[in-house]
């Protein structure tokens, strides 16, 4: 997987480095200031992409978990680990930027709405999954358990989201409805640019974390191999 992907990875690195200043420009300078909420609204340009990207990472986690259980190649577990950690990172960003924005926008730090609850549930489950990995006695066991959890978590968060949506019933979706309508073309473009930059960043982070995990796994493999060979002699 490594050698042929190297130039592609380099491209990813460079495009992420270049894209972020554009994103910053579009969010801070290009986009017009929103009338009702003012400057704070600009967090939106990173909050929303972060949320989208977190769910993208969950999808990757789901895929690599399934493949690992099927193939038992530790490289897939390394990908799962990378996806889990990066997802946790973006999830935390969402949960921090959200309330910062919500307070001036809705007058409250938090509300028990479908998206917020499912993001919080996702965060908790991801932390638990990492703990399971860490506390397992051996690598293969941890990988297997984490894979099963990965699949369960991915499906579960979707169900939680739906369930809370139903539970909150006719409660006006305070947020979504407001934005989608009043999204001026300039704002839409800014959001798109930020979405692209954040997605690139997510891919880069997963790639870096994956490579790091691969190195750890391969090193451990070498250590075991040398130890075993030492025993044979």
């Amino acid at each position: 997987m490594n050698r042929s992907a190297r130039p592609l990875g380099g491209l990813l690195l460079v495009s992420t480095l270049v894209a972020m200043p554009f994103a910053l420009w579009s969010a801070l300078l290009y986009a017009p200031t929103e009338q009702t909420m003012g400057a704070v609204q600009r967090i939106f340009y990173f909050h929303v992409p972060a949320a989208v990207v977190a769910y993208l990472a969950v999808a990757i986690l789901l895929g690599s978990s399934i493949v690992y259980l099927y193939k038992r190649d530790l490289a897939w577990d390394d990908l799962s680990k990378a996806a889990t950690e990066v997802c946790l990172f973006f999830c935390t960003l969402v949960l921090i930027t959200g309330p910062i924005w919500a307070k001036p926008a809705w007058g409250t730090w938090w509300t028990w709405e479908a998206r917020l609850i499912s993001t919080l549930v996702l965060e908790i489950l991801l932390v638990a999954a990492l703990m399971v990995r860490r506390y397992a006695d051996n690598r293969d066991l941890g990988a297997r358990l984490a894979a099963i959890l990965g699949i369960t978590i991915a499906a579960d968060v979707y169900v939680v989201h739906k369930a809370v949506e139903w539970w909150r019933g006719m409660h006006p979706q305070v947020f979504r409805a407001g934005e989608k309508e009043s999204l001026e073309p300039k704002m839409r473009l800014a959001l798109l640019v930020c979405m692209l930059a954040t997605t690139l960043l997510c891919m880069l982070l997963i790639w870096l974390r994956y490579r790091t995990a691969r190195i750890e796994t391969r090193t451990e493999g070498l250590r075991l191999r040398d130890r075993d060979e030492g025993d044979d002699r």
Binding site: I124, M131, R144, I148, I153, H171
Partner: protein
């Protein structure tokens, strides 16, 4: 050798624990996570739903399902823990039986235990809160059975996962309660409807959710239980 003074000894022990906590963030992280989970679950149960005022009747379903939720975690955990202590899980695994049978067997055990718990809990709730589901007792039993099944289906799988891992006990509640929250929500909503005298049909989609959820995790567990038990 000089005896170490009381204060000094105290300080040494405390400092050791603080250092350990600082380096691993073990206890703090699991307590924080658990407290957040508790808040989350309380909100599901007590949130009152759309536009509803928090009246006494509204409390009953919430309290009931909170009690069921938390005690089920404890019960399921203890059942798996017994296996771990006696290392009997490995024995079960080596027996020439279908892995799925181990899962289903444990599931039934947990379900029966939970059913007994609810047999005591529900009448108590009715008495304490002076609230009743009118004529809809059978419907209530059905709702309890359905949601409890889902809870046990997911819980048995998670408890098996957690039992194979070092510091597992704290993990079970952290995993099970958020993941099973749709079931708790469904239970609370349906029980609430019954207690208010509405029909089960009016909350039909929750019925579907609870059934779907239970079946989904029952089959996921059947498919993956073998992997959990593998050496």
């Amino acid at each position: 050798m000089r005896r170490v003074g009381f204060l000094r000894a105290t300080w040494i022990v405390a400092w050791k624990d603080l250092q350990l906590e600082w380096r691993t963030f073990d206890v703090l992280s699991s307590s924080v996570v658990f407290s957040v989970v508790v808040l989350l679950v309380f909100q599901f149960a007590m949130g009152g739903g759309p536009g509803r005022q928090l009246a006494a009747e509204a409390l009953v379903p919430g309290v009931l399902w909170l009690a069921i939720g938390f005690s089920s975690v404890g019960g399921i955990a203890r059942s798996m823990d017994a296996e771990r202590r006696g290392d009997t899980l490995a024995g079960l695994f080596r027996a020439p039986i279908d892995r799925a049978a181990i899962y289903t067997g444990k599931l039934i055990g947990n379900a029966v235990r939970l059913a007994l718990l609810e047999l005591i809990l529900v009448p108590l709730a009715v008495v304490f809160f002076n609230a009743a589901p009118g004529q809809a007792w059978w419907e209530l039993v059905f709702v309890l059975a359905l949601c409890s099944f889902g809870l046990c289906a997911l819980g048995t799988l998670f408890s098996a996962i957690v039992s194979r891992v070092g510091r597992g006990e704290a993990l079970l509640s952290t995993l099970l309660l958020p993941a099973a929250s749709p079931l708790l929500l469904a239970g609370v909503t349906m029980t609430g409807a019954l207690f208010r005298g509405e029909t089960l049909a009016s909350v039909g989609r929750w019925l579907g959710l609870a059934t779907g959820f239970g079946l989904l995790y029952f089959f996921v567990a059947l498919a993956t239980f073998e992997f959990v038990l593998e050496e």
